[in-house]
Symmetry: C2
Subunit: 400 residues, 2 copies
């Protein structure tokens, strides 16, 4: 049995928290012969180092930033290894380099290219708990790189894949994945299991337990994930392949408030106009989500799409470039996106219509709709966001 555990910044946020993590690791070691522990920087450290760098430069060199930021995780891994040694356990601290994590050289957001597991396997075979500094690797030239925000999750998943681990446990300060945000619907329940695909939809829609990059990598490498809290003994949520699970009709309801709607009225319906519009937005790195195109009664085309609210100004400027300063561009940032996610939708009809009916019963007007195999998303006025979540949570009986 080989397990990779990852402890996030709040889990190792103080020396006392590291004591608690050491106890948990010691307990885990009793039940598995090989244990790799990936740690984040103590909470606040990375932001402090970024502030330090910004004292000197608004746009510091990526290579130097990575050498700077990688130090936070090195401190935590050393301290945890020292704590485990003191408990009589064999433990060794590994930097990203020691762990064999080779990345490209896109500093501050490097991608893992390869993991050379020689060192880790040798240490595991010798009975050591290997404590790896997360979030970091080295490029082919031997320079330190970092993997971007949430990078320690990526380190853990990639190591679990490379080591063919039985399980990858992601410890945070929340108990797992819930049917919806418990602050909106107190009846929300923690899910025992969820598929990678559902998790991807829920994560991108606001459930901030795990970054999408990590879930995608876990799916690609077929790594069985568990996300759970390091602050209690509750069982977490297993994230795994769909085929391993009893298929729930609907797993969860997500609310995304960072949404704005853009409507372009009476645009010329000439060939290539959509390509020009969305090409321009893509060039500006604006993330377009839903798109609706329809032809008005007078034959002119209306085009609507949503973008993240904080990119709305950028999107408006981009549209003026394409359509001219006097174009008819309507924007509305008083909207939210509510999504119903569930792999069971694939094989059940009527899931979408139940949602539409329930929202209509509450007089919630649906402004836009988009669906995928496992997701139904609607754009509604922001004042109805929380209500829509609660209504849908009840319709699909997620509270029982």
């Amino acid at each position: 049995m080989l397990i990779v555990q990852k402890y996030g910044g709040t889990s190792v946020g103080t020396l006392e928290r590291i004591d608690e993590v050491a106890k948990r690791v010691a307990k885990s070691k009793k039940n598995c012969d090989k244990l790799v522990v990936v740690v984040s920087a103590m909470s606040g450290v990375t932001n402090e180092l970024i502030d330090f760098a910004h004292h000197f430069s608004k746009n510091p060199s990526g290579r130097e930033m990575d050498m700077l930021l990688s130090s936070g995780e090195r401190v935590t891994s050393s301290l945890l290894a020292i704590a485990l040694n003191e408990m009589g356990l064999k433990a060794v601290a590994f930097s990203g380099r020691n762990a064999g994590i080779i990345t490209d050289d896109v500093y501050t957001k490097a991608r893992i290219e390869h993991i050379d597991t020689t060192n880790i396997n040798k240490a595991l075979d010798e009975g050591y708990i290997v404590v790896v500094a997360g979030f970091q690797g080295i490029d082919k030239m031997g320079n330190v790189t970092t993997l971007g925000r949430g990078g320690s999750d990526l380190s853990a998943v990639a190591l679990a894949g490379a080591l063919d681990a039985d399980l990858c446990e992601i410890y945070t300060d929340v108990d797992g994945v819930y049917t919806t945000d418990p602050r909106i619907e107190p009846k929300a329940k923690k899910l025992d299991k969820i598929s990678y695909e559902e998790m991807l939809e829920l994560a991108s829609l606001g459930a901030k337990v795990l970054q999408n990059r990590s879930v995608e990598l876990a799916k690609k490498l077929n790594v069985k994930l568990v996300t759970r809290s390091s602050f209690n003994e509750n069982e977490g949520t297993i994230i795994t392949k769909e085929e391993n699970m009893e298929q729930a009709l609907v797993s969860g309801i997500a609310l995304d408030k960072n949404q704005a709607r853009v409507t372009l009225r009476n645009i010329d319906d000439k060939p290539g106009i959509a390509a020009e519009i969305f090409g321009t937005l893509a060039n500006e790195n604006i993330n377009v989500d839903m798109i609706i195109q329809n032809v008005g009664v007078d034959g002119a085309t209306n085009l609507g799409f949503t973008v993240p609210e904080n990119e709305l100004d950028l999107a408006t400027d981009a549209m003026k470039k394409v359509l001219g300063a006097n174009a008819n561009i309507e924007t509305d940032s008083a909207v939210v996106k509510v999504s119903v996610v569930g792999v069971g939708m694939k094989s059940h009809s009527g899931v979408a219509s139940a949602a539409f009916k329930a929202l209509a019963n509450e007089n919630i007007n649906i402004q836009m709709i988009s669906t995928s195999e496992i997701k139904i998303s609607v754009i509604v006025h922001e004042k109805y966001g929380e209500l829509a979540v609660r209504v849908l949570h009840e319709v699909y009986k997620l509270d029982v």
Copy 2:
């Protein structure tokens, strides 16, 4: 022209201090085409990390301590490189590993075995200022090692030697080496030059500008050192080969308060007794300094020696082991050592007698004397320490 500069912890103690160091480095770069800058951790950081480790263990693993402690210098080197970049200068931050510093694997006090200058020379040839994280290297297995207290000075001197630098500048918060401690004798003057040998005697006797290991290495590698302050523009003190200097009769007077005297009376004058006594002290790692042996009127032998005051209890216990619990062991920690140091003594007679006469004129009783080619040391009661320093400072006209 290739210069290696080293900035200590107080010189880079705050972000604002790093700004000042960046300005100084930029100015230096105008006058030399190749510049390597070695930095310490920001003052307080190393001690904080040690405290962190001691939260978990009184005796943490050396390997993990080195990974932990090395992070402090990595942070400073990254920040300084970022600051230099922002000023429009090409600069790159190197860890000990990047700088090619290969050590043995005696963690927390490793010795530099070899420096592979390939990376540094390449960066220097490309016009980069190379900012090296001091105090650290790697062993042959690729584990991070640290060089012990004052290790950043060692990094700088070793790099200066390996790169055949024209000069190695050690920046601290003091102006250089003084004829004696200015807090004792306000007339003390900064020395323009001093030989390695004199510096070694002064350092071991209390002038804490540079650690002896660094001076010894500079002497071995024939590295010309300058020690000066990063807080002002004053010229510092050059530490170099004796032959390059006009020989001063006496360069400085040092006071060492960490002294205690042990006297063993009426010990059996059997063969090997001295070897047994000093062998036992050596085994306990007690640093014996002066030794006096004489035969009393009754034919019994008296043996006196000095040890650091904080090792006196250990020395007393060791003596009881050798001589028995009832042995006649006198101890006196109310003593200090005053030393007169100067390469000119080699070729001038009467230096020692001038000292003895001056002390006698002030009724200062000399308890023990030891001399070397370039040093005269006397043990006196601690109440006379400062007076003895001032008297000797005046006798050798060090204030003019």
